[in-house]
């Protein structure tokens, strides 16, 4: 029998080592696997490279992981969101590195990584500082920069419903980066609000098919990041 369920968020993240590359789903608070992130803080792994669109807000979730100085490098598109003060401080102090990637290029780098494609060409960032010293090639008279696929050791994602195989369905715009991150990580760890029996998820509507998923933990009532930030909460 295939059963990817684990008992706790602590067990789910227990083997993440120092120096791992970890993709974390979410766009702002939507889709952020806050309980898995808090478990990673408790677990103690450090020197991490984290891939996320943002850098968290307040001092909970991703921002708390950064605040605890566990993140050596952030790969993201927008590290400057409202209530995002933790990352700028550490970045200015030279304690956290930043690789800034245009949002669509970030999504496609993750998609390519998961699809076994080492690099691709995109028109995004041509003629801008983010073109940097990347290879440029012309196709059909237009310039494109070469970008590399991105893979990770782990992905931490949140979904709405899962079965024990790891078929996943998301909630509204909380889907964002999670389906592509699930494909690009060696080990994909999912927190789901609800676990259902195999067959209860309509095959036509499954968003992430089970083979991309390795561990599932049920968190029926996840914390809401914006409520914690509004209350001035910190973690731990």
């Amino acid at each position: 029998m295939i059963d990817k369920r684990v008992e706790s968020v602590a067990e789910a993240v227990a083997d993440i080592p120092d120096g791992a590359t970890v993709m974390i789903g979410g766009f702002g608070e939507a889709g952020s696997p806050i309980e898995l992130i808090h478990a990673l803080i408790d677990q103690g792994a450090t020197g991490l490279t984290v891939v996320n669109n943002n850098t968290g807000s307040g001092e909970v979730g991703l921002a708390a992981l950064i605040k605890a100085e566990r993140v050596a490098k952030m790969i993201c598109s927008f590290p400057r969101t409202a209530n995002s003060t933790v990352f700028p401080e550490l970045y200015r102090a030279g304690k956290t590195a930043l690789e800034l990637v245009p949002q669509g290029t970030l999504a496609e780098r993750i998609r390519a990584g998961g699809a076994g494609i080492p690099a691709f060409y995109t028109p995004t960032s041509v003629g801008t500082p983010l073109q940097g010293d990347k290879e440029v090639r012309s196709f059909g008279g237009r310039d494109y920069v070469m970008e590399h696929g991105l893979v990770a050791d782990y992905a931490l994602i949140k979904c709405e419903r899962a079965d024990r195989y790891g078929n996943l369905v998301y909630n509204k715009t909380a889907r964002n980066f999670s389906p592509v991150m699930a494909t690009a990580a060696t080990t994909t760890i999912v927190q789901t609000k609800q676990i259902v029996e195999p067959g209860e998820l309509e095959p036509e509507t499954v968003v992430t098919p089970s083979l991309y998923v390795h561990r599932i933990v049920t968190v029926p009532q996840p914390l809401v990041e914006s409520e914690l930030v509004a209350a001035g909460a910190t973690y731990p």
Binding site: F27, G28, E29, A30, G31, N53, S77, F78, P79, R80, T81, A82, F87, P88, Y91, R92, L98, L100, V101, P102, Q103, G104, T105, L106, A107, E108, I110, R111, T122, P123, T124, S125, V126, G127, T128, P129, L130, Y170, N171, K172, T173, A174, R175, N176, F177, S178, P179, V180, V207, V224, E225, S226
Partner: protein, 231 residues
């Protein structure tokens, strides 16, 4: 010289003027700031579908107080609604829509626009600034038509329409049309082509506040006020 004048359009009127040019049936991405205001002014009788790059086609207005879902947000991370007929998708698909040329129009804010259509809207390039780009570079590289809404000058009165951008570029030669508080301006072969002047605003007044080459457009007209019947 100061931008603090009663002459010209308000932010709401700028958004209203930009909305007049959105055709029926368009798929549109609206940037953060004044562009967000455009949606509520699309003229009666036109159906427009709004895309937000975090994974929603068919974005509706903000929810009624207390009825929002923190997992239903726009690219500015504000709570929104999904209209009847909306679709959710993941980020790579969302940027297939953008980069693949499937979105008809994007309305963005700007820090500077150059007379050749170069856009700078993501960074001042200051050494201590935390750089943040989001989806802006993907949008200008992929969307068919780029419209900009911006005040004509900065808070200190410096031109935002310039000969060449001094801030880092978002994309080269990407801007098609600019809506400011003073005028509607196309980017054309001779630079900034003024197509419409806000009520009471003269060409000379706009030229004094513009850093690049400004010429009268082919059909330069004085706005009769908003809404002007352009369609």
């Amino acid at each position: 010289m100061t931008a603090n004048t009663t002459l010209g359009w308000t932010r709401e009127q700028m958004a209203q003027r930009a909305a007049l040019d959105i055709p029926n049936g368009a798929y549109v991405n609206l940037g953060i700031g004044i562009p967000e205001l455009v949606a509520k002014y699309v003229p009666e009788g036109r159906e427009v579908i709004y895309h937000t790059e975090n994974g929603l086609l068919g974005m509706g207005p903000a929810p009624e107080p207390g009825l929002g879902d923190p997992e239903l947000i726009n690219a500015g991370k504000k709570q929104v609604t999904a209209v009847q007929g909306a679709a959710f998708f993941h980020h790579a698909d969302s940027f297939v829509m953008i980069r693949g040329g499937h979105i008809d129009l994007c309305v963005l804010g700007a820090m500077q626009v150059a007379q050749n259509g170069d856009l700078a809207n993501w960074s001042t390039g200051a050494p201590d600034a935390i750089p943040a780009v989001g989806g802006a570079m993907d949008l200008v590289a992929g969307v068919k038509t780029i419209h900009v809404i911006t005040q004509h000058t900065t808070k200190t009165g410096a031109p935002k329409l310039v000969e060449s951008c001094t801030y880092p570029l978002t994309g080269p030669g990407v801007v098609d049309r600019i809506y400011t508080d003073l005028a509607v301006i196309n980017v054309g072969p001779e630079g900034f082509h003024v197509e419409e002047l806000a009520p009471g605003v003269t060409f000379d007044y706009v030229e004094e506040r513009t850093g690049g080459n400004l010429v009268p457009g082919d059909k330069l007209a004085q706005s009769g006020g908003i809404p002007a019947g352009t369609d």
